[in-house]
Amino acid sequence: MREIQPVTYNSTVYSDVNLLYSNSLIEPAQLTSKLTYFYGKDSDMFPLLFSTQGQGIINKVAPKALNDTQYEWPVMGRMKHTSAIVGLANSSNTKPGLAHGSFEAIFEDNWLIGQYGLTTPDKAHTLRIQGEAVQLGPKQYKYLLALSTADATEYVSLDNFVPGTNWVMTAPNVAMVLSDGNRSNSMAPGKWTNQYDIVRFSKQITGNIANKVTPIEFDLSDGTTTKLWMPFEMKLFEQDKRIMMEEKLWNGKYNRDEYGVIHLKDPVTQEPIPQGAGVKEILKSVGQYDTYSTLTLAKLDSMVNTIFANRIDSTPMELLLYTGSGGIEMFNNAIKNAASANSYYEKLGGEEIQGGKNGMLSYGKYFGQYKTISGYTITVKQAHIFDHGTYAEMDKKNGRVINSHPYESYDMVLLDHSMSNSGERNVQFVCEAGRENISGVYRGLTPLPASWGAFDRNGLSTRKDMASYEDMSTGGINILNPFTSYFLNFAA
């Protein structure tokens, strides 16, 4: 009996009839004409592309200057009221403020304002800022301070002067009469920058591959089947393209340095090659990041608390926790363990053990949601890209596997898809207007497959027996407010 090989790979430039022969697709007898997918089909692999581009949540950026794929969006943080202390101006003063005396302290910035109140880090002392700052040097501003106390024995304990500790400014108190005005701090929106990628894929063919029929029935994206080779090969081509695009949206690394220079250049044309930050890099850069080993409810709560600490409005939040099979197991185990620790055996047992069909019992029910103390619901969404994407494939090959799942499968990304206050979706697909996706055919004498679409089939671009399907897209991911999303990275 002939041994069936699961997959054969071909990296030669042109697809031709030899490919079919070499891959044993033209054979005299076959047991079945239906193709068996040993590893399942690659559908449901593109959660980010689906939830953004697929839902029409696309931000088309007008083309800018040559080779510039950057885009910006204005952001506003929360007003700051604290300043970090450098130390006492007079380091030999061991009891600053004693007997209602004023003293001088040095802060890292001049954010504090004369007349305003000031509270020490231990919250035990309130003071008044007795004048404006005097700059002593870079990141050194001297202020005159006085304790607001009736107790002549009170002084500010020295542990409040540990460098880097933050003091907080409070309301300005003035005298009943003859008071003078003060000033206020203001804050302006900043601008965040990211950039989108430009990606190109090509499929080259030669000979009469377009019309070759195989003994195997292939299923196509639209649900129909065909025995023609090219529609199937184009389906694989499109799937592979999407997997790589999806992977980029998660794992992309921004490649412009702080001076705006892209050092990665095309060796032939010397033109810069821009790449944008993906979801993971964006979240890690803003501190919305933690590592985990075995997921616990405490860890989940810690993640949720961080998110809500960053959001004070009551905008409805649609929180989806994207993860692979490994992460789903972790999530389920974390909640089940917590439920068991609370002795919810009966309730859990009732849910887990149920009557199945034909007098059989069924065992197993799994947690896929978690309700926070604030009433928000986190829903787990399986992202197959974490299980079967290119990074997962590499993990498996490198033995970075736990319980049969690649490490990548345990990564969890909590994405807030809600509408922002500007009425836009928080997570968006960004691309260049007019170059969202362009495809074309470079045609020689090779017959073109119908799956390449209705391109000009008369004119020739080359005399050779060849044709090439060319595809170019622009795309990147943008999270308007990343502070309501989170990346929980599995750390081995």
Binding site: G77, Y254, R256, E258, S285, S293, A491
Partner: protein
């Protein structure tokens, strides 16, 4: 006896290009020390130590049937925020002989050591740990000095080995401290111990770039002193080598060529003093490389290859280390300077060597 010791956890500066680009508007308020499979396992395997230190942290007796689960849950759940200014940890110990288990442990310890090394007082316990720590720091320091004599690739490997050995030994030492007392601040101490095995923390600022996952580093006053001592030792070694070669004009020239300074020498009428000054600049500013080259037994042969390259007799192919005859690219002397040295030393290639020397001595006509 309370023996205080402080260490700081600091943020590694923003390292992704995206973070750098947006540094003026990114409000990264905290970073978290999270859990990792390896670091958690390292803590849990210190079973006895955990049973002594953790009951007050977990509010649970170590004899409880829930002990193992709760212990693992604690470490799996670790999510300690570290703010921008860093966090100071008190990692010192309170050695206390009045505790019954401590007296027992001292007796056990003394059974296995010589009379001179016997622990008798709290001071002697503190001294014992200090001495052991000084020893391992010295071993590390010596290893780094030795490594500085090697080529870049081997040096990095040796430094890495020395680093791992130092921190493995340090952890082994820390693991037994509980037998003689209790940390001054248990929470701080446990976090420190955890950080020593956590992939996102560099235990030494020097190794902050050893992995892209590093987000923090540990730093102490003792480390500052250690770094200064180590730096001083390397400088002394460089000075010694400088003084030993400076009177040998040919050796100076060879070293300078191997250091890649041929362009400063070729075609110029430099005095011995001029060359000595260039070498002095190199040993002061490029110390590690200078030590490596000056210690290299083949510096004379390598110097000859570099001179031939500088004169244009040989050629290093652009963006490679491959060395070929400039007049005939098919004559490949080697893929590296070491291979070129072997080529010229080979009796079979003597004729070629003489040809190169002949061309070298021929005045250049422009």
């Amino acid at each position: 006896m309370i023996k205080s010791k402080k260490i700081n956890i600091f943020w590694k500066l923003k390292n992704s290009a995206f973070a750098k680009k947006n540094k003026d508007v990114l409000f990264e308020s905290e970073r978290r020390i999270g859990s990792s499979v390896t670091a958690v396992a390292k803590m849990i395997t210190c079973e006895e130590e955990m049973k002594n230190l953790m009951p007050e942290v977990l509010s649970l007796s170590s004899t409880s049937p829930f002990w193992d689960d709760r212990l693992k849950y604690y470490w799996d759940s670790i999510s300690e925020p570290i703010f921008e200014g860093g966090k100071e940890l008190e990692i010192g110990y309170n050695y206390n002989t009045s505790i019954a288990r401590v007296s027992e442990n001292i007796k056990l310890f003394n059974k296995n050591v010589s009379e001179k090394e016997q622990l008798t007082t709290e001071e002697s316990i503190a001294e014992y740990f200090e001495k052991r720590e000084t020893e391992l720091n010295k071993r590390y320091s010596d290893a780094i000095v030795e490594a500085s004599k090697l080529d870049a690739k081997t040096r990095n490997e040796q430094e890495r080995i020395a680093y791992d050995a130092k921190y493995d030994a340090l952890v082994e030492l820390e693991k037994i401290k509980y037998k003689f007392g209790k940390p001054i601040n248990v929470n701080d101490y446990l976090l420190y111990r955890y950080c020593l095995g956590y992939r996102d923390v560099a235990n030494d600022i020097k190794y902050i770039d050893k992995s892209p996952s590093i987000r923090f580093y540990l730093y102490s006053d003792a480390q500052i002193k250690e770094d200064r001592d180590r730096h001083n030792k390397v400088k002394q070694q460089a000075m010694k080598l400088y003084l030993s070669v400076i009177s040998d004009g040919e050796q100076v020239e060879n070293i300078l060529y191997v250091l890649g300074k041929g362009f400063e020498l070729i075609g110029k009428e430099l005095t011995e003093t001029d060359k000595a000054e260039i070498l002095e600049r190199e040993y002061l500013n490029n110390t590690d490389k200078f030590i490596m080259v000056a210690n290299d037994k083949t510096v004379k042969d390598k110097g000859r290859v570099e001179k031939l390259i500088a004169k244009g007799i040989l050629k290093r192919l652009p963006n490679t280390d491959v060395i070929v005859d400039s007049a005939d690219g098919t004559v490949v002397l080697g893929n590296t300077v070491d291979e070129a040295v072997s080529y010229l030393a080979n009796e079979k290639n003597k004729q070629k060597l003489n040809e190169f020397i002949g061309r070298y001595k021929t005045p250049t006509v422009n």
